[in-house]
Symmetry: C2
Subunit: 359 residues, 2 copies
């Protein structure tokens, strides 16, 4: 598939102007653009600028409020619940993560559950805000139902990702960002575009039979929890996705399980709405609330080098540490630019024409 390279700055200006055009405050447009493009830089193309027109369609459908009044609706010294007022998750999430960091500064840790939000981009962007504060950052979100729990044919959970970012010393930070499914939906979309089969354990058909058809979700199929099937631990992936849902939505008062609003604006909202919007959960733990940050970083370096120096199996050059692939993407893309598929470019051009903004 043909790709065109765009400089980060080009995409930044374009996104920023689009967010302004739909009515975002300047500060929020900056935040939204930073969040969105962090995905493109880190190589998570499914969550970056390719979704920009999707956010705009949600705004058109009045499911996204461009000028939200984000509020803290309850708090204790170490916790808060935030009402995102239907704002862009790209803006609501950094607000909540900042609050978690402030609370961690005050009393060691901060934990913020969010209701009434929308898709927040990549979890790593938010969790990594903790790093410069010498904190461990945690971010998770629920999402619309694509995943069948073990033994079921019903789609009951989203891909519900978890990210944990921990600072190191001389080594780069540890950043684990994972969907709680065997494969993220973005991986499936890549196979759809290429019309290739999926490996086993990624999806099932409407009756729960194993499938390798990347289009099967449109025919009543489902993504599978990490593990794939019971014998390979899918009940664990299902449990992890459930934990994300409970922390993100049951603690905050957002919608949960099959009632989480969809990202595509053309998909109707579920009839039942037991809460408000989408839910997220953020945590920040100050390292020196446990031990001196320098001690922790010294041992994180030891830990990371231990894994880097572990013996690779035949056919593999080295053992990776969580965060390595994304950091390598970022280094390359900052220099060489961000490749966009033709379909994405044409989608962005149409979007630009509408608001008279050049890509």
């Amino acid at each position: 598939m043909a790709e065109t390279l765009y400089h980060y700055k080009q995409l930044y200006d374009f996104s920023f102007k689009i967010f302004l055009a739909i009515g975002c405050r300047e500060e929020d447009a900056v935040t939204a653009t930073n969040t969105l493009l962090s995905a493109d830089l880190r190589g998570v193309d499914s969550h970056g600028i390719a979704r920009l027109s999707g956010y705009v369609r949600l705004w058109e459908a009045k499911r996204v409020n461009a000028q939200p009044l984000i509020k803290i609706i309850h708090q204790t010294p170490s916790t808060a619940v935030v009402d995102g007022d239907s704002g862009l998750g790209l803006v609501v999430a950094p607000f909540a993560m900042k609050l978690a960091i402030e609370k961690a500064n005050q009393c060691g840790t901060g934990w913020v559950s969010v209701q009434h939000s929308n898709h927040f981009g990549i979890a790593a962007h938010h969790a990594m805000m903790a790093l410069e504060n010498d904190m461990i950052g945690i971010a998770m979100t629920n999402a619309s139902p694509l995943v069948a729990p073990t033994f079921s044919t019903d789609k009951m959970l989203g891909t519900n990702p978890i990210c944990v970012a921990a600072p190191a010393g001389d080594e780069p930070a540890f950043v684990a960002d994972l969907a709680t499914t065997t494969a993220a939906n973005g991986k499936l979309e890549i196979l759809q575009r290429k019309n290739e089969q999926t490996p086993t354990g990624w999806v099932q058909d409407r009756d729960g039979n194993p499938s390798s058809d990347p289009h099967i979700l449109k025919q009543g199929g489902a993504l599978l929890p990490l593990g794939g099937d019971r014998e390979h631990g899918s009940h664990k992936g299902y449990a992890l996705g459930a934990i994300v849902d409970i922390f993100s939505a049951l603690l905050s008062g957002a919608n949960y399980a099959p009632w989480v609003p969809p990202f595509p604006a053309y998909v109707p909202l579920p009839e039942k709405q037991p809460g408000k919007g989408i839910g997220h959960f953020f945590g920040a733990m100050r390292i020196d609330a446990f031990r001196p940050a320098d001690d922790f970083k010294f041992h994180m370096d030891e830990w990371i080098r231990g894994f880097r120096n572990a013996k690779p199996m035949a056919g593999h050059e080295k053992v990776l540490v969580p965060g390595d692939p994304e950091r390598e993407f970022e280094a390359i893309r900052k220099q060489q630019g961000i490749p966009l598929l033709e379909a994405v470019v044409s989608d962005l051009q149409q979007l630009g024409q509408r608001f008279q903004i050049d890509l």
Copy 2:
């Protein structure tokens, strides 16, 4: 394999007397026994009384201190680090979880990282202590290295389990307790005894080739992270195991990665010991630090019923909620007794003879 049923009370008395016999204080012997036997009740036979003689051997080898002075070595309003003084993890862990609960009572959440401990039994026992306080409980621990990270042939992580327990209203609590590997070591031990093959994705041989030999760890093989291989998401299982290690040991100052002390007393300690003992991590989040507990429980009931009523696939009667199987075991075993394999009975009888305690 032949099994004999023992009443809970019989096993309780026996364990309690053994812990007293090795010098535990009465209060600690109660705690250790409760923790140990909660595994037998919940059907996690690999972590229950079958391990009692293993704990005694660790005490003989002076790797377990029967009369530890468990200390808080650092704290903030929402965090603490505990030094277990080489005590039984079965005793150290409840101490630390209680502290997390106290901190949650004070400032919304409590987070305790533990160094200098030993094997803590089942994570669920500790996490579930939060439930009666209307809190979400979290427990995790690192363990000696049996697991190869993705692309490696070296054993670098333990099976590093995570447990999250969340209260519900009329429905029983949500309790997810999972090793971050495709299969827990206990599952492998069952196949070893039966001399049966493992499914794919559970273990690899010393060169990193797929294997189905449950004895392969003795020949340089390794357990695999949840996912099994890269294509099926093993990098996610590896990341989850790593997160457990970082929270449990890097935050506390315990040993980590391949340097975590082994459970079998005959296995020498790793030469390098970058910290002290084994590490655990506990969390308690007061529900009403986020929203009224009754609201949360109402929606947890809705959530749980949603999954119970999800459509099962052919060949399965129903969809389970995390915690269901263990609760069913507990109900049956409390009534009918706890089945012990002949090998376990004879091991316990030998142990009893030594201390002149009847099983």
